[in-house]
Each structure stands twice: as structure tokens, then as C-alpha cells.
Amino acid sequence: MKKELKIPLIKNGTVIDHITAGNAVKVLHILGIPISTSSVVSVAMNVKSKFGKKDIVKVENREIDPQEVDKIALISPKATINIIRDYKVAKKHKVELPNEIIGIVSCSNPTCVSNANEPVKSRFKVIEKDPPKIKCYYCEREPEVIADRII
């Protein structure tokens, strides 16, 4: 039986694969999509794969800088980035958390100074990469559920 594609192949652009199931919308949010692009974006959620369910995001005609995408390792540490050129994978990159996360996650501590009216962005040090564990640079609190703290 011929396998049916849930979302179509793209000619040129970026495919973010192996996103933790249910997190595709948060991934788009972290990447500033759709605000940062006018390209066609396709999203598939809860797609069956060898390792259980996953989400997939395809962005047409735009090659997203892998370093920019590394931030999504916070909520999808197994995600991969495929740069597609003429229907072929030209580059493949496995996300890796940077050592510091700035302006993406808010501190879970309501009395942390980063939640006050001060001209600073939230800032976290990454203390473990997979599963991700981060610590607030200001108050040293570690948010328990990072996905809930995405700004």
C-alpha cells in the first residue's frame, strides 16, 4: 500500500522534524512564526513514527538558521532541522541547547526581579541539556515545567 503523506513535500525551505508531540505550536511561537515570515507553513501533529508520536513543521522557501532553531531544544530536545533544496535534504542538524537562554522563558518565581518592571530580558543558564534543565540567572530558581513558561 502506498504511504500517504500527511503534509506535502516542499521544494525549498526548512523541515523541523521529531518535535515532541503536541509542542508544534510552541515551537512556532519560539521561532516567531508566522510574524517573522510570509512563507507557507505546514504543521502536522501527532504523526506516527518509529519512536511514537511526533509533530512536524515545514516552512517553504525559507532556510532557518540552525542556531536560531537550537532554542526549541528547550521543549523538543530530539528535534532535527532539515534544509531542503530542490526536494532533497541539503543539510541536517540536530538541535542542541545553547548554554544560555535569553528572552524566551519567563521565571516561575513571581518575586524574581526579572518579572518586575525592569529593562532586562529573562535569562537562564542551561544546566542540563537532555532533558533540559535551566536555572534563572537572577534568582537561581529552576522552572519545573519549562513549556509552561515560554513567553
Partner: protein, 316 residues
């Protein structure tokens, strides 16, 4: 040469968290604080910080920390500007902390700050060129208290490694006990945490101790814990840190140190407390040789003199 290099590292350095320092650096501060004792008592005088100005910004109430910082600066010949109540400042008009810090930075050579928000001192350090000394940020860090506690234990017990130390009281919200547990573990002390179940030491702190090779014991039983203790470090149940008044009423008065309880303690047990105390230590204990909390409060002066001298580059 090595000591000189450590000393040079302190000039202009922010004192935000005890975790920013190596054990060698902490030892250096404690040794230097020993040298400061006769100057702290007024027996000797050297105006090594003459012409220097310290900003003392206390956005939260304080007695010991503020007074001992001011005393330290005065004893070294420097001057102090600042406030102990933010209601008379532009904060009341909605000025941000970062703007207040920028101003204080331009008026002084170092800034001491106490603030109700965690991370406030770290933020202040981003906006000031002068060194920032954290005098307590909310339920977060209080490194100068931690240093004076280490100083006191080392002075009284001659060592910290393998000393049996019981930390008692509000271990959840108490800011002194978090930094202190980390520092004591760094020195290889033997730790027991005693608290009501709802105020037990956060897992993060226990994890840090374990990471340093120390397995703290957690219990609610003070009578048992006190029997072989060398140091009993008591903290107040802090009403101001409780989000819920009912929770506070449930646990306040859980433990009380009195002479009856101390009958089962070792003769050379010392009792410490960062103060203020409310009801957790009966005043009858003050007259016993166990009570060390007032001497501990004095130790804040030589330790803070050492820090001010180091960060501003003076030397006795």
C-alpha cells in the same frame, strides 16, 4: 604571590552569592576578617577607605546588616549615604530599581543593597560599575551573612570539616540557610536539617549538598538531632515570607529552644541565630555558655570590613 593574586581579584568584584566564590577565596576573606577584629572593636584605627563613599540602599527593614555595614565603613574612615526606608525615595514615584542603581553608582564607590525581590542584587550589578554587595534579596541570597556564619563557626570550633551542624526552623523560606548549607557542604560539614514538614529544605539545596559529597539528614525530631550536635543554627519562622497566613499560624512555635531541651545537648554546643529572634529561643538561654548569637552578630563587622576593604582596594 598566590595570596596577592586572590586579593587583586576582589577589587571591584560584586558580592552577590556565596556560590560565586571558590573555597580559597572564602578562606582569604575569613582570614582577612580575623585581622580586622581589633579595628572592628575600635582598639586600632586605620582610615584605609578615607574619601570613599558607600551607598547603603535598604528597600527592606534591617537592623544588624545595615548597621554593621555602616559601622564597617565608618571604622575604616569612609562615609555612608543612603536610605533605610524606600518610602522617602523616587521608588515611591515608580522609579525602577535599575534607574535608582545608576544614580547611586554615580554618587559612590560601592553599593550595598537589600531588596525584597530575588535577583535584585544580580540585576543591580548589571547597571553599576561600582561593586555591588548583596545584603539580602527577598528569600534568595545573603552572602555576607553566610560569610559571617562561616567565620563564627570556624572561630569557635577551629574547623568546619566534619563538624556536626543542625539547621533548624524555616528551611524553606529562610534565605540564610540556603547559602549556608551550600557553603558548609563545600567545607565538608556534617549537616542535619530540622523543620516542620511544610518548611523543609528545598530539594535544590539538598541536591547541591549531595553534589558536593555531603548527604544531609532531614528530620522533624529536634530532640534526637541536638544530642550529638556541635552547632545548632536556629532560624525564625518568617511571617513576611508566607504567602498564606493560615500556613504561618500552623507552624509558628513548632520548636522552642530552652534550658530543658539543652540538658540533652553536648556541653560545647554553640547556638547561633541570624536574628531577629521572636519566640524560637527562650531568653533564659541567653545566659548560658551555649548562646553565641550576639557574638555572631558582632562578627558581621570584621567580615563586612574585610569585604568593603577588598572590593574598594584598601589594605590594613
Amino acid at each position: 604571590m598566590f595570596v596577592f593574586l586572590i586579593r587583586m581579584q576582589f577589587k571591584g568584584k560584586d558580592i552577590i552569592s556565596i556560590k560565586d566564590f571558590t573555597k580559597n577565596e572564602i578562606n582569604y576573606i575569613l582570614n582577612y576578617a580575623e585581622e580586622m577584629i581589633p579595628y572592628a572593636k575600635g582598639e586600632k584605627y586605620k582610615d584605609i577607605l578615607k574619601g570613599r563613599v558607600l551607598s547603603s540602599l535598604f528597600f527592606e527593614p534591617s537592623t544588624r546588616t545595615r548597621l554593621s555595614f555602616e559601622s564597617s565603613m565608618n571604622r575604616l574612615g569612609g562615609r555612608v549615604i543612603g536610605f533605610s526606608d524606600p518610602s522617602g525615595t523616587s521608588q515611591k514615584k515608580g522609579e525602577s530599581l535599575s534607574d535608582t542603581i545608576r544614580m547611586a553608582d554615580s554618587y559612590s564607590d560601592a553599593i550595598v543593597i537589600r531588596h525584597p525581590q530575588e535577583g535584585a542584587a544580580r540585576l543591580a550589578a548589571e547597571f553599576a560599575d561600582s561593586p555591588i554587595l548583596n545584603a539580602g534579596d527577598g528569600a534568595g541570597r545573603h552572602p555576607t551573612q553566610c560569610l559571617l556564619d562561616l567565620f563564627t563557626i570556624r572561630k569557635e570550633k577551629k574547623k568546619i570539616k566534619n563538624t556536626k551542624i543542625v539547621l533548624l526552623g524555616d528551611l524553606k523560606y529562610g534565605r540564610t540557610v540556603h547559602s549556608l548549607s551550600y557553603a558548609l557542604a563545600l567545607y565538608g560539614a556534617n549537616l542535619t536539617f530540622v523543620s516542620p514538614t511544610s518548611l523543609k529544605m528545598p530539594n535544590e539545596v539538598v541536591g547541591e549538598c549531595k553534589g558536593l559529597g555531603i548527604e544531609p539528614i532531614s528530620t522533624t525530631n529536634l530532640e534526637k538531632a541536638i544530642k550529638d550536635a556541635d552547632v545548632l543554627y536556629v532560624t525564625r519562622i518568617q511571617k513576611e515570607r508566607f504567602p498564606d497566613a493560615e500556613e504561618y499560624n500552623r507552624v509558628v512555635g513548632s520548636y522552642k529552644i530552652n534550658n530543658e531541651l539543652l540538658k540533652s545537648a553536648k556541653n560545647d554546643l554553640i547556638i547561633m541565630h541570624p536574628l531577629p529572634r521572636v519566640t524560637e529561643i527562650d531568653p533564659e538561654v541567653d545566659k548560658t555558655h551555649h548562646a553565641l548569637y550576639f557574638k555572631q552578630a558582632f562578627n558581621g563587622v570584621p567580615v563586612r570590613m574585610a569585604l568593603l576593604s577588598l572590593v574598594m582596594g584598601g589594605r590594613i
